[in-house]
Each structure stands twice: as structure tokens, then as C-alpha cells.
């Protein structure tokens, strides 16, 4: 019995060193040499400052920016504390949240889209994402926001639509997953467009 405990302790030490240290360290070495930017979190810098990651949603409340999907994290878009909402499909709280979100979208986009109805709002605009930092919105939600962006920024709607199309990530290899628009990249492109004028 004691012998088998000693054997196990030896094995535990050897395996912890091999799989707990050597394996991740070697993988990190490969990552840092071959894929430095991606391995460090796909950070985006502007003028030498980190402004976010292309893999994490961040808060956009100003009307001149495209807005993200709702987030269940505290505070919203917390990339140190990802979470689901965990609200069940018949939850009264979910009903309230969806109603509030619909009202918010109607209030924000209504003035720029005459005749906007609830049926025009895509479902991802009123539901929290899985991670709370979903960096994408559906192309449908991006197009819904286009008129507001154009009006606030004083640029043609067609230019905004064009930018959305340019920043839509299609399905991987053309058929895996669903298309999405990366909000941070799209907003950066908007800011750059203004800079060029």
C-alpha cells in the first residue's frame, strides 16, 4: 500500500512537470515566435496605445458609433469576467430585459428610420451574447444602425453601407459558422474615414 502511494507520488511529480510546465512553456515559446500578435490577445493599437482587442466587445454608447449586442457581464463588456445571462426561455426577467432593449433600440434608431417597427429589429440586438463580449453583430443589426451613423456623422448612407460590407467577416472557408460584423473594427474604420476627409 505504502509502496503504491510512493509510486503514485513520483508519477504525479513527473507528470505535473511534463504536462503542467514543459508542455505549456514549449507551446508558449512556439506561439510567441510564430504568432506573436495573435498569441498576445489580438490587441489593436492606435497611435501606440492599446485601444482594445478584435476579439472582445467594448462599450459604445455614443450615437456616432455602431453599438454592440447587450452584455450580461458586470459591468457590461467585462473581458475579465465573462458570463452568460443564464435566463431561462420562460423567465419573466428575460421578458423584461428584451422589452427594455426593444424600447432602447426603437428610441435610438427610430428617429433615423421612419416607419421602424419591432419586426425590423434582428434578434441579436435584443439578446445578450454567450460570452458577454461577443465582438460581432449580425449584418442585419449593422444595417439597421447605418442610417443613424450616416446622419450623425454627416456622411452618405451608401458610404456607411459600403463600410459594413467591407467589414463583414464571412463564414470561415465560406461555409463554417455565421457571418458577423466586428463592431470595434467597423468603428475604427469609421473614425479613419472621417480622418481622411
Amino acid at each position: 500500500m505504502i509502496r503504491s502511494v510512493v509510486r503514485s507520488i513520483v508519477a504525479v511529480v513527473v507528470l505535473t512537470v511534463a504536462f503542467g510546465f514543459i508542455y505549456p512553456v514549449v507551446m508558449t515559446g512556439i506561439a510567441q515566435i510564430a504568432f506573436k500578435d495573435k498569441a498576445n490577445g489580438s490587441l489593436i493599437t492606435r497611435n501606440g496605445h492599446v485601444i482594445g482587442s478584435r476579439l472582445a466587445a467594448q462599450e459604445f454608447t455614443k450615437p456616432e458609433y455602431f453599438h454592440e449586442r447587450p452584455s450580461a457581464t458586470v459591468p457590461a463588456y467585462n473581458a475579465m469576467g465573462t458570463t452568460f445571462s443564464n435566463l431561462g426561455p420562460t423567465s419573466p426577467e428575460l421578458t423584461d430585459q428584451v422589452k427594455k432593449q426593444i424600447a432602447a433600440v426603437m428610441k435610438l434608431e427610430g428617429p433615423y428610420n421612419s416607419g421602424l417597427t419591432v419586426g425590423d429589429i434582428p434578434v441579436d440586438a435584443v439578446t445578450t451574447s454567450g460570452s458577454g463580449i461577443d465582438p460581432d453583430i449580425s449584418p442585419a443589426y449593422a444595417h439597421l444602425q447605418a442610417r443613424r451613423i450616416a446622419a450623425v456623422r454627416g456622411i452618405p448612407v451608401a458610404a456607411v453601407e459600403q463600410l459594413i460590407t467591407k467589414n463583414t467577416d464571412g463564414r470561415s472557408l465560406g461555409f463554417l459558422g455565421e457571418p458577423g460584423v466586428n463592431v470595434l473594427e467597423l468603428n475604427l474604420a469609421l473614425d479613419q474615414m472621417k480622418g481622411n476627409q
Partner: protein, 567 residues
Amino acid sequence: MTFQGTAQLIFYAVVLTGLAYPLGIYMARVYDGKLGLVNGRLAAGERWFLRLVGSAPEHEQNWKQYAGSTLVFTIVFTVLVYLLLRSQGHLPLNPDDLPGVSAPIALNTAASFVTNTNWQFYGGEYTMSYLTQMAGLAVQNFVSAAVGMAVLAAVIRGFARRTTSGIGNFWRDLYRSLVYILLPLAVILGIVLISQGVPQTFDGHATATTLQGGHQAIARGPVASQIAIKQLGTNGGGWYNSNSAVPFENLNGITDVLEDIAILLIPMAQVFMFGRMIGRMRQGWAIWGAMFVLMVAGVAITYPAEQHGSQVLRDSGVNITAGSQQSGGNMQDKEVRFGIADTSLWASTTTNASNGSVNGGHDALTPIGGAVPLVNMFFGEVIWGGVGSGLYGMFFYVLIAVFVAGLMVGRTPEYLGKKIEAREIKIAAVGALFVPSMALVLAAISVVTHAGLASVFNSGAHGFTEALYAYTSQSNNNGSAFAGYGALPFSANLGAVALYLGRFVPLLAALAVGGTLAAKKTLPESAGTFKTDGPTFAVLLVAIIVLTAGLMIFPALTLGPIVEALS
């Protein structure tokens, strides 16, 4: 359901089977010691390891010795993980200065990782230091998987061998599972994930000044190395709280399909490995067929249910119709880049295997969509199942099916030339029925006690489903959750009991079956032998599973998801 979505699911099944078959053949050679590598230069490492743990290279253990090694090894590792969790605040590699983990959470987490479950009563990125994740949890991702794989190899030898007591050497099987199977696959998958954008760094979190001038901290770490093995080893514990829904773990259609393939790759390969190791590939295909039918059935129910959307979303009037501009459906707690098809597939495969990682929130699934993962788990994780544990769990049902067939035709049941007698059937019945019974009892305890009810997050029928899901998941060593279910001492401790018993009762039962079968003679096939290598047997097997486990959970289902779907 869209054409594109359905096409993705078919693509998944085809690629998965195409990869699993050759891997299974390779794995059979690894465990049989018939691989050039094993006999050649690499074998020096194996001999070194066996010397280190004091085991003679050619030593064969009987099933009791094998079980003893497995148990002692797991207990020692449990102690290490527990101590690491408690003391991480004083240890290095903790750039974000996280404190030690509380006792109930540490107890549950240690149990959870050594049993290949990875139920998470904590949020990874804000609870666990890099040291804990790497040296504690990720090591278990390898080791607990290898333990299951080793035990399966031993049980299969029990079927293949005749009149012997030896069923292999735990230490040798452990080493081979780790070094020849899990490690190479993890390195390959890890590098592909990094190349797509999964972080792999020892720097602490990044800080950003957002476009609007706000402040954002971004958790990262050596993520890819852990995600690769968490999928391959059917572990499932995420680096981040929202698991594989977080873009840093799973960022596009490629990483999603690869990780989802990794979830079922080894469990499916083991079915082919079984066929090869007993020298009758058609036997393997029969079991493959039964598992495949059950898997497809699950996806075929979840996908339309999620696409149809929840009552709340349909009533709200927003646009939930799938089209080229959005995937529509029940997008609550789902990510845009995966949409409905990929999240439905993952919800199903992760509960087929005992993986339990998620790429969307299960608590927010529609009632019927959420019932499928529950039933998948309740079948005992035998639709592919956990690495090793899935197939040895399926053997219990196989023996029961053979027994039932024997009763119908009035002959002594046989499987692979071995007479199946009262002793084997008793053990198989315990192996098959203990875990689902325990899950029901624990769920019942949790909903009739005040302490248990305090863990429930949503009210009403959905709250009952949360509790049922929690104990079904932990008893079956899955680890996925209706994640609103709470982290109180009571549910953490009750969960730890479920985790240990759920792991070791079937494991010991499987080894016992392997041990007794190894001692038996192999009888030649006769005209009256019931065929177990064709579609008839596959159908019988599916029926046995649905009738035993399915009927056990049906009353509970009516109280939870079915009531919710009708309300």
C-alpha cells in the same frame, strides 16, 4: 433550419468519422504494443517511466491490482490539486494576484478535475491563477483522460484474452495514452488554435483605453495549450467563465468546428480501436451505428427547437427568421459567429461526450433544446461518451442487450465468444443503473431541502431542470451546466459526492467485468450464436438504452422541460 446549417452538420459528421477511423487503428496498435515507435527508440522513455514508478515493463496486473493503481494514483492527485487551489495566493505565476480558493469550491473543483468532469463552480479568469490552471487543472485534463483511456484498454483486453488474469499494466497504459495519443494531438490542435488567434502568453491581463475613452481590462494567459487538451480529453473546463463561447477560446468557424471535432474524436476512435483490438471490426461498427443514431437524433431535435426560438422572443415581435443577414432563432446567450446550427450541434456533442464545454449558455436553451443535453447525459455518457469511460459504460448496455436477447431465444447469452453469466450481468446492471439512480436521488434531495433550493437561479419548472441538470451532469462526469445554478457549500459538497461515485463505481464495475471475462474460455461461434455485429444488434442496443435510462428520466423530464415547453 437552413440548408447551409444542415450542410455544416453533415460535414462535421463526415470529417469526424474520417479522422476517428485511422486514429482508432493507430490507438489499437499503441495499446497492443505493435507500433514501431513503441518498440523502437521512443520506448526508452516508457521504460524510464516504468522504472521510476517501480513497475516491471512486462508486468501484467489482474483487475484488482489495476483498479488499486488507478484509485491510489487518483487520490494522490486529488490531494495535490486541492492544496494547490487553497494556497495559490502564496504561490508564483499569479500575475493578477488572485487569492486562494475557498474550501467547498476547492473540494468540488479537485473532484471535478480528477474525475474528468470539469464542472466549474467558479469563473476561471477571475478565480484561478496561471499556476493553478497549468499545473493543477490542465495536468488533470491530460491525466484524468489518460486514466479513462487506460482503463478502457484493460477492459477490452478482458474481452480479447482468454483464460488469464492479466489485463494489462496501468502505468504502461497510462504512459502510452499520454505520450503517444493525447500529447501529439494536443500539440497539433493547440498550434492551429494559436494560429487562428487563441492567446498563449504568460503576460497578465492587457489594459486598453477604448475608442470612447473608457478603460477595459482583457484577461488572457496560456489559453490555447489548455483549450486543446480540454476538448481532446473530454474535460471541458474553460479558461474563461463563459467557456468556449468566449472569442479568446473559440473565435471563428474554423476553431469552432475543430474544437467540436476534438470533443468526439478520441471517444469515436475508441469504438474503432475496440473493433481492431478484438480482431472483429464489424463488432465495432455495430456499436458505432448505435451511438451514431443516438447522436443524430439529439442534434435533429435541438437544432429545430433552437431555430424556432423561445416563447419570450417569439412573443416580443423581433425578427427571429433565419436569412442571409442573421441566423435568427433563440440567440439568447449565443454568439453571432456560431449562430443556431453550430451552437445546437455543440450543445448536443458536448453532452454526448462527457466533455461539458459549451459555446453558448445552456440555461437559456429552449425547453426542448435543453432537454436533449440532459437526456444525452442521463443515458450515462455512452453516446461516444468520455474518453475511455464512454465505451466501457456502453459495454454495460451491450451485456444487458445480449442478456435480453438470450432470454428471448432461450440460450445462454454470449458476447465475443464469452459466456455471459449471472455475475457479469449483475455487475453490468450496477454499472449501467447506479449513476442515473444517484443523479435522480441527489436532484430530489436538492429540491426538497432549503440549502439545495438556495442554489436554484430561475424559478418554477426551469429551476427544477437546473437542479436535475446539475446532478445529472456531475454524476455522469460531464461538467456542462445550466450555469445559473449556484455555488453554495451545500451544492458544492453534494456535487463532490456525485463526482467521485459517478466516476469510480462504473470504472470499478468495468474493470471487474474485464477481469472476469479475461479468465473465461472463448467459445467457437455456432449456428445458434446471437449475432452482435450487424444492424439488428445496433437497433436492439439503442432500444435497451432508451428503455432503461430513458424511462428512468422520463418522469423527471415531465416535471421540468416538458412542463416548461407546455406553459
